[in-house]
Subunit: 590 residues, 2 copies
């Protein structure tokens, strides 16, 4: 695997020294910067600004989802975006706060002060960096698409459930989906009508604006089309600005009409070391204890980060081929550096990457412009964040995540692969009931179980072939012979052997690409047992993947290994079986 | 799998009604009893008596290993042996107490009264019966030979460590191997010389007698050979009788020279329901609480039982083919019925099966005679069991298990498959440190990990082939395309596509026998992406295992699926690529 992972990701010019090649691979900006021209810069500027208009309101909303002061969303938004300019390989990827990260923060750091979240960001970054250095990207392949789909949908459901209270103007802390529903029912009397109305309006506007870009416009009016598209893409910013303006003009400090975000720390965050101690319940907690509080989440966070980031990179990179190691190193650095400016855990966001893509981004440089927009928002706008209504942020979140619920895949899997549907269902249910971490584990194990079931029961077709000396038997095991299924293969061969005894059984290895030690030993025992009754087990058509292994088996007849068909194999041991080549082969195989 | 599992195990006469066939399959005695003749009966009688001479002393020793009163060994020995006559399919298998069962009893029921052990026998029997009815025998295949080897060797080490105290005349209860060693060192002053000497003599005699049957005897003296063989096989009984006689004549109630087994309940056990309540620490404990005390052992016990029994049945059945369902039903019934006469958990024993085999057993009827010998021992000999020295029982145990430690496999695996060696080592170490149950789980997961590693990195050879229109690319994925490796396969195809664009890429599916939904979706995306740049991805040589799935893929070119080579495939889409059949194919493939 490594040999190929190491294939140069980009074609390099000859005459380049090795260290410059490595430098180019690890600082991909060196690949595109020399060719950067004005047209590309303009395209990137447009895409970057568009992205910024999504990034700022999303960051605020994701911070509120994670129960963090809203400025932390922006603290986390600009570092990743700007570092990716230098280190990133996929131009569409936008690293920053995401719904998945917020949900995990909520689950891991419930009831803990924000220092824990920043430390989690730092530690996760370190873990991802180490995973990148150790080339552990393959771990992500263990999480099957059904698991990803199940837990993405569950994430959307959990987030929606947690945001309904915001739409209704309620305030409480709830652990699970059921908790949320229970508390909403209990507190139904406290529902605030103005918040409800504002929330409903925001949702309606967001959903309508989302459809705006698909509107049929007369093809001679490209500017109208472009304006509609821009409004559609910038809908989050638009709704937040409109709702905040409304809140500003209706604001009454004594009896606020709608619930607002409240005071926000204005300005840029100070640069500082990640917090290695924090105050929890009036007591100073040090590093080791902080880590204990974070618990298993410290392992889960980096894996989910890498999973999300690589999935997005794969989806947007041309040819589906990405440099997983570089992506992991970048993601790790983004989180480590981020934790120095109080950023919470970040990774690539699918929604924002789609915005970049449809805005016509050309190079990762677009991130620079959206980063600058975020910084400007931090410097000049934070004092106005006070007026962002909570119902508005809930609307932004709900309208972002409900489209992550993928119902069509259920129909498709029901038709095509119900085992995968079961895996998806299991992951979804465990996510809702027991949390996302356990669900990923349970789903992955279920995927492996489905795979093992496939490996345990490969088809082992068997044919009898008439030769001039009588019948021989041909057995053609498929897939692989491993400890899980070797008894099955051996039983088939024994059945064939009993039928044509004492004539040979020919084992066609053409479809075998994996043979483990246990299966090898089963075959050795079979050869021995058949030899005792003067019957031969001949291997032929052996591919190069397993040639050495088959050749090393005790008692194996080496002459026939390279034969490609039954006649050739029998001819190679002709002192026992004289075959006239003209003898017709009557086989069910044809 | 089921279709084949259901294949008739024995050839039946025509004209037999279906229910009689089923009856014959479920009561295998009906298969051999009608043909039972005097010669077979004599052979079985000899084998049965020989087996009895091993069964009685082993049962006593295994009971003492499990920290149970020695009569419980015999209570457990006759029911299984005799039921197997009626229900068993493999003539060599002897169901009764085994070292593995005793070790598990020791681990699961430490400090609990014997009622718990009998209940465990009943519940395990029920579980095995249910596993048999649900056809869950395939679960045993999940435990790879490396795991079995590792935990068998560990069992031998644990048993040896626990029996050294008996050889030294010490008494204490120890949990683990390390505990045993620590306590032996601590109590070194209390070591009793007479016990040591007796133990050493017993061990020496047992090991020498074991070698006796391999002695070269003049071929004209078959009777001498036979006598030596009989002494060798009956060595356990011989040593126990000699040692007990010695103890009887040197016995002094005031100051016993050597430690003895002590009082044994004489006679047959009463027939009674399994104990659904017991007295623990002066308190009556009812069923539910008893089950809680047994804990996870209740799941582990039946799985290990089935594993051991099926492994032995496989090793001795002709052709390696066994009726796993029937074996499980039998084993379940043996334990359930056994629990009615105070039997502890039982399963097939490898050592005894080997004795049966070398004694020339002909049908399962031999078990009847060894069962009768056990019953006679229970009725007439139990009062003499008082005098069996503990050091003698320890010697019998140690000399039985040390040959289970398989060192040769380590050397072989080091040469041939170090991943398997790692699995074996892991299982061994976990067994010693954390117990056999956890070791089987850890080892099985490690085996699956090794398999997954193999599946993740199959070779995907790629060739370029020159045609008259230019180069095309042929990619030949091996093994399977599943979620674990589909990204890798797709990347290879994309690389090939980039090389020959816009000429087609041909995907040879001849070695693919498994394709899951995730991999199918990856291929669909690839087809789509290549179509966008007017390049074709053609599948050919598609085997019947995956034909339907490939055919159902969105956008797949159906015409070429059945083509067996590149020329044929290209000809089938000739409106685009005109190939003269005379064009030489230059391929690295040849």
């Amino acid at each position: 695997m490594d040999a190929e992972e190491g294939l140069p990701f980009v074609k390099y010019r000859k005459n380049e020294s090795t260290w410059f090649r490595v430098l180019k691979q690890r600082l991909p900006i060196l690949q595109w910067a020399p060719k950067y021209d004005r047209m590309t810069a303009v395209a990137d500027l447009v895409a970057g600004i568009t992205l910024g208009l999504t990034l700022v309101p999303q960051s605020i909303a994701y911070a509120s989802l994670a129960n963090l002061p809203v400025q932390y969303g922006l603290y986390s938004a600009y570092i990743g975006t700007m570092l990716y300019v230098v280190l990133g390989t996929v131009k569409e990827v936008s690293i920053g706060p995401t719904s998945l990260m917020s949900l995990l923060i909520l689950q891991i750091c419930r009831g803990l002060p924000v220092e824990f979240v920043v430390l989690l960001s730092f530690l996760s970054g370190c873990m991802v960096l180490i995973m990148g250095l150790l080339r552990l990207g393959f771990l992500v392949d263990l999480i099957s698409p059904s698991v990803t789909s199940g837990f993405t949908s569950a994430t959307a459901v959990i987030i929606t459930a947690s945001q309904i209270k915001g739409l209704l103007g309620l305030s409480f802390t709830a652990e699970s989906v059921f908790d949320n529903i229970r508390l909403i029912v209990l507190k139904w009397d406290e529902v605030r009508t103005p918040d409800c109305i504002l929330g409903a309006v925001c949702c309606a506007v967001l959903l309508l604006l989302r459809k705006l870009k698909d509107l049929q416009v007369h093809p001679k009016k490209p500017k109208v089309k472009k304006a509609l598209w821009l409004i559609s893409i910038g809908r989050n910013a638009l709704v937040v600005i409109l709702a905040s303006t409304f809140a500003y003009f209706t604001y009454d400090p004594q009896d606020p009409l709608i619930k607002l975000s409240g005071r926000v720390e204005p300005g840029l965050p100070p640069l500082s070391m990640p917090p290695f101690s924090a105050v929890l319940e009036n007591r100073t907690v040090h590093f080791v204890e902080m880590v204990q509080h974070l618990g298993a989440g410290m392992l889960m966070m980096p894996i989910v980060m890498v999973l999300a980031n690589i999935a997005i990179a794969k989806a947007f990179s041309s040819g589906g081929r990405i440099d997983a190691t570089q992506e992991m190193l970048t993601l790790g650095l983004c989180n480590i550096v981020g934790s120095l400016v109080h950023a919470v855990p970040t990774c690539g966001a699918f929604t924002r990457s789609a915005v970049s893509h449809s805005s016509g981004v050309r190079t990762p440089a677009a991130g620079l412009y959206s980063g600058i927009i975020t910084l400007l928002a931090l410097i000049f706008l934070t004092k106005h964040f006070f007026f962002i209504p909570k119902a508005c942020l809930s609307s932004v979140l709900i309208c972002a995540v409900i489209f992550m619920i993928d119902l069509s895949i259920i129909r498709r899997l029901w038709r095509e692969d119900r085992k995968e549907l079961a895996v998806l269902g299991l992951t979804f249910v465990v996510s809702i009931v027991k949390g996302v971490e356990l669900a990923v584990l349970a789903g992955s194990l279920a995927s492996v179980a489905v795979l093992i079931r496939g490996v345990m029961t490969p088809s082992v077709p068997m044919y009898t072939i008439k030769t001039c000396d009588g019948e021989v038997c041909r057995v053609r095991p498929t897939l692989c012979a491993v400890y899980l299924n070797s008894a099955r293969v051996a039983a088939r061969v024994a059945a064939g052997a009993a039928r044509v005894a004492p004539r040979p059984v020919l084992l066609d290895c053409g479809q075998l690409a994996l043979l483990d030690y246990a299966a090898g030993q089963v075959l050795v025992r079979l050869i021995k047992k058949m030899k005792e009754s003067n019957q031969m087990l001949l291997f032929y058509n052996v591919g190069k993947d397993i040639f050495k292994q088959i050749e090393a088996l005790e008692g194996v007849e080496k002459r026939t290994l390279k034969a490609t068909n039954v006649i050739e194999a029998l001819n190679l041991i002709e002192e026992k079986y004289e075959i006239e080549e003209t003898t017709p082969l009557l086989s069910k195989d044809a």
